[in-house]
Each structure stands twice: as structure tokens, then as C-alpha cells.
């Protein structure tokens, strides 16, 4: 089982992204998807960095794909999506509309925001040229196993959400702007203040969700530490690690050690929990009862 780093979902400054991807060149991951997924308004602030980021990662031996937006509505967003296919790199699609722009016989990746729930959909996408599919995070282990097998039969690598706040929903409405009583068109990019998303608690003070512009994520950080063996046994090809603040290269190394069997799940959890956004892990989508559940108690002293 390999490691893939997903696109950064949050609004970070260009120089921070530059540093993040520079450091990532040394991380033990096989591939990286790069691009703005959440909000097209953020693109002008950092898209000029992408060529250098891509060149650096490829020079370091990583496979690289360019990510499309997750929700494409505006004309300029459609054009951006179209143009991605001309750059000579694999494209990771996060919105079905990208398939309309896909040139014939062009391999592509499928991101976790695309609904691949069953063999029929996986088979169709494979016939269209999909070579990698990262499954939606809400799928349980049984479905993952069935799809990993279907992927093997169809020649598609199947990937699963490994670590990071879980992407739960996307909307036309910007919640960051709404929280600041601003219109989306006049958001003044306040989502850039919350580097791992802005937390949303219940009225009882329970951490619940986090918002990231038009995206809603979990408050707890999704963590597959206790499920790596099961996922490997199920035939999953890769775990996806989602960028977050803190020592991300260390996080990648931790997962690499975990997959190699060098460290226990407890050790990985103990390593990652102090820097986990939300301070809590969740892995309930794998084995229930609900996505917000965590299969193991917090280790003592953490």
C-alpha cells in the first residue's frame, strides 16, 4: 500500500504553499495531487506557484496530478477545468462535469468528491480511462473491499481517505462569508484566517464540524491508523493524506512506518494526535456506527 497526498483544501498563502510542497519533496509518498478544489476565487492568489510545485515534486520522483474544482458552476470555472487537460499531466477530477472536457484516450484520476459507490460506476469510469479512484470517505470497509477487488479486475488503483479532516459536503454558499455577515462576492478571503478550517460546535460545546469556505468538513480529524491492515488486506492500493498545518512530512513518515509494520497504530496515534486539527480523531466511517466515532480510546497521556 502506497501513500498519496491530496490537494490542500484550505486557503494558505502562496509562500506557505511553496514551503509546504518544497518540504513534501522529501516525504515518503508516491504521489501528490495539486490544485484548488474548494473555491475558484482563491486561484489567482496561488496558481502561479503550481508549475514550480509540480516540477519540484516530479524531480523528487513523485507522480503528480492536477486537481479540478469540486463544484463547477461559473463560466470561468468551466474554462479552468477545460484548460487543465492541456497541460500534459494527469488530471484528478472532483466534479463530473470535467468528463465533458476529457480528451479521448486520456488517463485520469478520480478524487474523493466524485460519487463512486459501486462496481457499475467504477467500471464505467475505468472504461473512460480512470486509472486511480479515491473513494468517498463515507464508504464502509465492506464496500471498500468490494470496490478494491473491482478495481483490480478493471485495472484501476483504488485509494481510501487515510488522514485529515473528512470532506463532508460542498455548497454554493460560503459559510465563512456567512459567519462574517458578508456576501460571497465580498468575502474578503476570510477563510484564509483558518488554516485548518473554522470549527463549528454544537450548542452544548461539542466539537462537530468545520467550515472551509463553501466546504464543510468534520471537526475531528479522520485517521486510518487502526485500519491500515484491514485496508491492505482488502486490496486498497493507497491511502490519501490530506494537507494540514504542523509537521506534515512527519505525518507522512508516520503513515509510511505504519504501513511497513514498523510502528503500531497506538504509536502513530500518539505521534499525530497533538497536532490533529480538532484535537480528536474519527474513523467511524470504516466500521461504524457513525462517521464521527473513534474506534479506540485516546491513549493515556496524550
Amino acid at each position: 500500500m502506497e501513500l498519496t497526498v491530496g490537494p490542500n483544501l484550505f486557503f494558505w498563502k502562496a509562500e506557505d504553499l511553496r514551503a509546504f510542497y518544497k518540504a513534501l519533496e522529501a516525504a515518503p509518498v508516491a504521489r501528490v495531487a495539486v490544485g484548488e478544489v474548494v473555491c475558484s476565487k482563491r486561484m489567482p492568489f496561488w496558481e502561479a506557484e503550481i508549475p514550480n510545485i509540480v516540477a519540484g515534486l516530479r524531480a523528487a520522483g513523485k507522480e503528480v496530478a492536477l486537481s479540478t474544482l469540486g463544484l463547477v458552476t461559473l463560466g470561468r470555472e468551466r474554462n479552468k477545468t477545460h484548460d487543465l487537460f492541456d497541460l500534459g499531466l494527469p488530471v484528478e477530477i472532483n466534479d463530473i462535469s470535467a468528463l465533458k472536457h476529457l480528451p479521448e484516450n486520456t488517463p485520469f484520476w478520480v478524487g474523493p468528491l466524485v460519487n463512486v459507490y459501486n462496481e457499475g460506476t467504477l467500471g464505467y469510469l475505468a472504461r473512460r480511462g480512470a486509472t486511480r479512484i479515491c473513494l468517498p470517505p463515507e464508504l464502509p470497509l465492506a464496500s471498500i473491499a468490494t470496490l478494491a477487488k473491482a478495481g483490480k479486475d478493471a485495472g484501476v488503483k483504488v485509494e481510501v481517505w487515510g488522514h485529515g479532516r473528512l470532506p463532508l459536503a460542498i455548497s454554493a454558499r460560503c459559510y465563512h462569508a456567512r459567519l462574517h455577515d458578508r456576501a460571497k462576492d465580498n468575502c474578503q478571503f476570510i477563510c484564509g484566517e483558518d488554516l485548518d478550517g473554522r470549527e463549528v460546535d454544537t450548542l452544548d460545546g461539542q466539537a462537530f464540524l468545520s467550515v472551509n469556505g463553501v466546504q464543510t468538513l468534520s471537526a475531528a480529524t479522520g485517521c486510518a491508523a487502526y485500519h491500515t491492515e484491514a485496508l491492505k488486506d482488502a486490496g486498497v492500493d493507497s491511502l490519501r493524506l490530506s494537507p494540514q498545518t504542523g509537521d506534515f512530512v512527519g505525518l507522512c513518515a508516520g503513515y509510511a512506518d505504519r504501513i511497513a509494520g514498523n510502528i503500531t497504530a497506538e504509536a502513530l496515534v500518539a505521534q499525530l494526535l497533538p497536532e490533529a486539527p480538532g484535537g480528536r480523531f474519527a474513523d467511524g466511517f470504516f466500521a461504524g456506527p457513525s462517521g464521527s466515532d473513534w474506534s479506540h480510546p485516546v491513549p493515556a497521556g496524550a
Binding site: G120, L168, L203, S290, G291, S292
Partner: protein, 326 residues
């Protein structure tokens, strides 16, 4: 004449909707193949047959929603339901999943296909993809678009569009939301339920009534005040120093006044949400909307009697149709 597409959660509601003037009704089977998989709701394959026959006799169409995403390893059930819908004489099926669309186009080529709102086809590229690839004849538009955007989309596509005008309102892109399964383990995409009643607990806490879903408090209201159902995205939460309806107020959609604009934008059909509502509710809403579409067809002013009392939380919004909503 704009087509009025109305909800039918039960055979009785289907009859009520047709009698009240529905041009078409939509319904689903009593299992996880549709996105209103609620206890006591929906049709058995046997119940669908006379319902379709009765609707056809009265000039109304029946559309069958198979708009969840088939379970890996369990696609057979969805395939069987496609066959059941065709056997019952359904006028179209409403599908969201690419695999199921592909299967339907191959195995039931004569069964008309509509694209469910759960597919969230929000731009002309997505719509044209589904139209060209799976021969979809009509697209139910996501509730994230403005009227202007709908008009622009219709200029670039050849298939019919259907727009929601009344009832529940999803604030997230439909079919792309796992909030419910995060809190309860059950989701619209996989199980056909959102914020399911099985996970709802109302608890009296001091002077308040707390409405909880899967252990998360979604609302807290004084005991004597109306308590909205704890639908996740309409909940009251705290973020930093702010407390309020972070995602959406507990409102429902009422876009009746936009019917002429939607007609002008090229929309073919108007959809009313609410398969979980009673036959009485359905009949009343359908009558009001039929009066509106009739008025529009005859060039009269729309009868815009207030229906707000029937709406969840007692207030309504034009939703994303107005750009300020975003």
C-alpha cells in the same frame, strides 16, 4: 404549459396529488433505492402497478425515483427496481448514479431517464455529459443555481430542465453530502435518509427542549416554542464568538413568485418536494401550484396565497434562486 411534478409518498398521496391537478407525480419503492426511504413510506412493486394505471387514466405521468447510489456488492436490488418500474409502466425513472444510468441505458433503453437532483449536475458540461452519455432526457436542477444561471444553462443544453419550487431545501450540493452519515451512520446517498428519525431524540433540559441527532444537539428551543425537526444543516451551532444557523435557517423553499422567471429561463417542469408529507398537505400544495401554472398559461396574474404555515419552521425563502443567498 409548465409541467407540475408532485410528490407521492404513498398510494393515497399519489391519488390525492393527481386529483389535485398534478401533471406528473414522482414516487419510490419502499427500500434504500430512493432518497426518501422513511418508515411507512413508499410503494411496493405491486402497489405501483395500479397507481401508474390510475394516474395514466387521468392523464398524469408517474416518475419513479431510484436516486440513491447502489451499494457495492448490492447493485442487483437497484437493477431489479428498474425492471419493476418499467413493468409497472412508469413514464420515466429518476437516477443519480453513473453506474445505474449506464445499466439502465444498456438494459432498459426504452425507459425514459431523468437525472436526479442527487447527481448535482450544476453546469452545462455536466448536463451535456449525462445527456450524451446516457441519453438522459431531463435534468432536475440542483438547488444551488440562480434563475440567471438556469437561463444560461438552458441556452447551452438540449434536454429538459426541472426546478424545485416548494418544500424542503438542501443547502449543500445534493448527493454530495455526508453530514448525516457523519452524525448517524445513515446517509442520503447510501441509505436514502437524511437526519433519520431513528436517531432523533427530543430531551427536555431545564426550560429548553433539545433536539438531538446521533448525540449531537442540533436545536435548543424554549419548551413552548415550535421545535424544528433536527435536520443537520438547519441546526443552530456555535463558531468562535458567534451562535446561530451557520449553514441555513430552518426555512423551506417557496419560489412561487419566480414561476414566470423560471418559465422564461426555459424550465420545462416545476417540482414540489415532500414525499414524506401527508396526502392532505400534498393536495393543498398541488392545488395552489396548479392554479399558478394555469394562471401563467392563460396570461393571468399568479394567485400567490400564503402557504407559509405549511412550511417547516413557519418561514420560507427563495433559496439560491436569488444570488444574495450565497
Amino acid at each position: 404549459m409548465m409541467e407540475l411534478v408532485c410528490p407521492a409518498g404513498t398510494p393515497a398521496a399519489l391519488r390525492a396529488a393527481v386529483e389535485a391537478g398534478a401533471h406528473a407525480v414522482y414516487c419510490g419503492f419502499a427500500d434504500e433505492t430512493n432518497a426518501r426511504n422513511f418508515p411507512g413510506l413508499n410503494f411496493s412493486p405491486e402497489e405501483l402497478v395500479p397507481a401508474v394505471a390510475g394516474a395514466h387514466k387521468r392523464g398524469a405521468k408517474v416518475l419513479v425515483a431510484l436516486n440513491t447510489f447502489p451499494r457495492a456488492g448490492g447493485e442487483k436490488l437497484w437493477h431489479q427496481r428498474l425492471a419493476d418500474a418499467e413493468a409497472a409502466g412508469a413514464d420515466a425513472v429518476i437516477l443519480a448514479d453513473i453506474g445505474l444510468l449506464d445499466y439502465a441505458a444498456t438494459h432498459h433503453p426504452k425507459l425514459r431517464r431523468h437525472l436526479s437532483v442527487q447527481a448535482a449536475a450544476a453546469n452545462p458540461d455536466a448536463i451535456n455529459f449525462y445527456a450524451e452519455t446516457f441519453d438522459v432526457k431531463r435534468v432536475v436542477l440542483p438547488r444551488v443555481l440562480t434563475v440567471q444561471e438556469i437561463a444560461a444553462i438552458n441556452k447551452e443544453i438540449d434536454v429538459e430542465t426541472e426546478a424545485f419550487v416548494f418544500g424542503g431545501l438542501c443547502v449543500m450540493a445534493e448527493g454530495r453530502c455526508a453530514l448525516s452519515s457523519y452524525a448517524t451512520g445513515l446517509s442520503p446517498n447510501m441509505n436514502g435518509v437524511c437526519s433519520p428519525a431513528s436517531h432523533v431524540v427530543y430531551a427536555e433540559e431545564g426550560p429548553d427542549l433539545a433536539a438531538k441527532l446521533g448525540g449531537f444537539t442540533i436545536h435548543r428551543t424554549p419548551k413552548d416554542r415550535p421545535a424544528p425537526y433536527p435536520t443537520l444543516c438547519k441546526g443552530c451551532f456555535t463558531s468562535g464568538s458567534q451562535t446561530g444557523h451557520v449553514f441555513e435557517d430552518p426555512v423551506s423553499l417557496d419560489a412561487r413568485h419566480l414561476i414566470p422567471a423560471l418559465a422564461k429561463a426555459g424550465v420545462t417542469a416545476l417540482k414540489i418536494e415532500g414525499r414524506q408529507r401527508s396526502r392532505a398537505y400534498v393536495a393543498e400544495v398541488v392545488r395552489a401550484f396548479r392554479a399558478a401554472t394555469d394562471a401563467l398559461a392563460e396570461g393571468r396574474d399568479l394567485p400567490l396565497a400564503e402557504l407559509a404555515r405549511l412550511t417547516e419552521g413557519q418561514s420560507a425563502t427563495a433559496g439560491a434562486y436569488a444570488k444574495t443567498w450565497r
